[in-house]
C-alpha cells in the first residue's frame, strides 16, 4: 500500500458517549437535573478511536459483544455523531446492517431494491437500468416478486448485498450483513467484495465469524470496551484474539462494561 492511495475514511480520536439509561428527552433531563444533583450514568461506547481506511482496504472489526463495533460503523457512516473527535469522508459511504431494517415488509423484493437504491443515493431511473443485474445477483428466484414479509433472513441478506454492490458506493460498512447467508452466498460475496475493493472501493466488515473475517479481510481491528486493542494484519490479530477469547471466556460473562443496546 503506497502513501498515494486515496484515503476514504479517517477517524481521529473518536469518542462516542451514551447515557446508560438510553435516549431521554432534554426536558426530562432538565427536570431530573433540577431534582437531584447526581449526573446521569454515561458509558463510552468508543474511546479515542483513530482509524484510516484507504481505497482497496478490506478491514475486519472484531471484539466481544458491546465492544463498540457497530457504534464505530455508525459513527463512520454519519448515522451517529461522535461526542468528541473528527470523522472525515471522501466518497459515498453506506452502512448496511443485518436484518433488513430499512426494508418495507409490505413491498416486493423488486420494489424494495429500488427503494433501497434510492436510500443509498441512486435515482430510480438509474436503478431501473440495473434491475436485471441486481435480480441476477440476488438470485432469489420467484421471491424477487414476493413481499419481503415472506423472506427468510438469508434472502434479506441476498437482496441487501445485491443492491449495495450495484450502487457505486465507495465504502461499504457491513454489520453482520452476511451472517444469515449460506456458505455459497458468503463465498460468492467474499469474492465480490474482493473485486469491489480492487476497483478502488473499501469494505469494513463487522462479524463474529472469525472464518469470514479471515476469508474476506486483509486487515483487522480488534475492539474491546470501546478501545482499540490491536490493528494489523488479519492473521496476527485473529491469532491473539482467539487466544484471548479462550483465556477470558470463563469471566467475561461477569464484566459489566458492555454497552447494553445490541443495535447501537
Amino acid at each position: 500500500m503506497t502513501s498515494s492511495d486515496r484515503v476514504l475514511l479517517r477517524a481521529e480520536a473518536v469518542t462516542k458517549r451514551y447515557r446508560r439509561d438510553g435516549p431521554t428527552s432534554p426536558l426530562v433531563q432538565l427536570s431530573r437535573g433540577l431534582g437531584r444533583a447526581a449526573p446521569p450514568a454515561m458509558v463510552d461506547a468508543l474511546q479515542e478511536i483513530s482509524l484510516q481506511v484507504t481505497a482497496g482496504d478490506r478491514l475486519g472489526l472484531i471484539g466481544t459483544n458491546g465492544a463498540g463495533k457497530s457504534t464505530l460503523l455508525k459513527v463512520l457512516a454519519r448515522i451517529a455523531r461522535p461526542t468528541q473527535g473528527v470523522v472525515q469522508r471522501d466518497g459515498r459511504v453506506a452502512y448496511l446492517a443485518a436484518g433488513g431494517g430499512p426494508l418495507f415488509l409490505a413491498l416486493r423484493g423488486r420494489e424494495n431494491a429500488i427503494l433501497l437504491a434510492n436510500m443509498l443515493g441512486l435515482p430510480s431511473r438509474e436503478m431501473h437500468r440495473r434491475l436485471g443485474d441486481v435480480e441476477a445477483r440476488a438470485d432469489l428466484g420467484a421471491a424477487w416478486n414476493a413481499p419481503v414479509s415472506t423472506y427468510s433472513a438469508g434472502q434479506v441478506a441476498r437482496l441487501t448485498m445485491a443492491v449495495a454492490l450495484c450502487c457505486e458506493l465507495d465504502v461499504l460498512l457491513l454489520d453482520e450483513t452476511l451472517a444469515a447467508g449460506d456458505l455459497g452466498f458468503r463465498a460468492r460475496v467474499s469474492r465480490e467484495l474482493a473485486s469491489f475493493t480492487q476497483a478502488g472501493g473499501a469494505v469494513v466488515l463487522v462479524s463474529h465469524s472469525v472464518d469470514l473475517i479471515r476469508a474476506a479481510c486483509t486487515r483487522t481491528l480488534w475492539l474491546e470496551a470501546g478501545r482499540a486493542v490491536r490493528d494489523g494484519r488479519t492473521e496476527e490479530v485473529l491469532r491473539d484474539y482467539e487466544a484471548a477469547q479462550s483465556h477470558d471466556a470463563p469471566h467475561r460473562a461477569s464484566s459489566g462494561d458492555a454497552v447494553p443496546s445490541a443495535d447501537r
Binding site: P23, I79, P102, R125
Partner: protein, 261 residues
C-alpha cells in the same frame, strides 16, 4: 453527500426517495384494505355529513349551502391533521431508517406529507363534484386552487417538520399535538364563517393561517369572489415563515436523531 436542499423537485435523488417512501408508506398503511387510500378521502365526507346534520339541521347555523361550505374546509383540514399526526411520529415509527442506514432524514417526514396528497386530491375532486351539483362557482374556484394548494403544502410541510422534530426530542408532543389539532379545528373557521366571530376576536383569526387557507379554498367556490386579501396574505407569510423555521430546526437537530429515537 450533500443533502442541501429541502426543495424536493430540485434534487432528483431526494425526489425519488421521497416518492418511493411515500408509496411504501401508503402500501403499508392500506395493505389488505379493499378501498385503500379512498378511506382517507371518505373520512372528511362522512364527517361533513355528520356536521351537516348537526349544524345544518339540528342547531341550524343558517349558513347557505352548508354541506359544501363545510366540506371545502374539511378536506384541507384532513390533509393537515393527517400529515401532522403521522409526521410527528414518523421518525420513531421508522426508527430503522434513522438508526440502520444513512439517508437524508427529512425524506422520512416529507414522504408523510406526500403520502397524504392522494387523499387531498380525491377529496378536492369530491368538492368539485358537489360544487358542480349545487351550481357553485367551480370555474372561479379552479383558478384559485393552485394558490390554495401551494399555500397549504408550504404550511403543512412546515407544521409536519416542526411536529417531527419536537416529537422526536420531546415525546410528550405527540399527545399535545392531538389536543392542539382538536382545538385548532374548532378555533379555525371550519364550521362557521368568520363574520359570525365577535369583532374583537377577528384580528386573531386573521393571524391564524388556517383561516387564510380556508378562505383561499372557500371564497372563490361559494361566493365566486377572490379570497379576502388580509387573510390570504397572512396565511402565505405565516406558512412560509413556518416552513423556514421547520426546515432550520430539522437541519439543526437531524444529526443527533439517532440518539433520540
Amino acid at each position: 453527500m450533500g443533502y442541501e436542499t429541502l426543495v424536493v423537485g430540485a434534487n432528483g435523488r431526494l425526489r425519488d426517495l421521497v416518492l418511493n417512501l411515500a408509496h411504501a408508506e401508503l402500501r403499508s398503511r392500506f395493505r389488505a384494505t379493499t378501498l385503500g387510500v379512498t378511506w382517507s378521502a371518505l373520512n372528511p365526507v362522512l364527517t361533513a355529513v355528520v356536521l351537516y346534520i348537526v349544524f345544518g339541521r339540528v342547531v341550524r347555523l343558517g349558513v347557505e349551502n352548508y354541506p359544501l361550505f363545510v366540506l371545502v374546509a374539511l378536506v384541507p383540514w384532513g390533509f393537515l391533521s393527517g400529515a401532522a399526526t403521522q409526521g410527528a411520529g414518523a421518525l420513531l415509527r421508522h426508527r430503522a431508517l434513522v438508526q440502520q442506514i444513512r439517508i437524508p432524514r427529512e425524506a422520512i417526514v416529507l414522504a408523510v406529507v406526500v403520502a397524504n396528497v392522494p387523499a387531498l386530491a380525491i377529496g378536492l375532486a369530491l368538492v368539485a363534484g358537489l360544487g358542480w351539483v349545487q351550481d357553485a362557482s367551480v370555474d372561479v374556484w379552479l383558478g384559485w386552487l393552485p394558490l390554495a394548494i401551494a399555500t397549504q403544502l408550504v404550511f403543512v410541510t412546515g407544521v409536519t417538520l416542526l411536529a417531527a422534530v419536537a416529537t422526536t426530542l420531546f415525546r410528550d408532543v405527540e399527545h399535545l399535538l392531538a389536543v392542539g389539532l382538536r382545538a385548532g379545528f374548532f378555533l379555525s373557521p371550519n364550521l362557521y364563517p368568520v363574520d359570525r366571530v365577535p369583532e374583537a376576536w377577528r384580528p386573531l383569526y386573521v393571524l391564524n393561517p388556517v383561516s387564510g387557507i380556508v378562505e383561499l379554498y372557500r371564497a372563490p367556490l361559494l361566493a365566486g369572489e377572490p379570497p379576502e386579501l388580509a387573510y390570504a396574505a397572512s396565511a402565505i407569510l405565516f406558512s412560509t415563515a413556518l416552513l423556514l423555521a421547520g426546515a432550520w430546526l430539522f437541519r439543526r437537530y437531524e444529526a443527533d436523531f439517532d440518539d433520540f429515537v
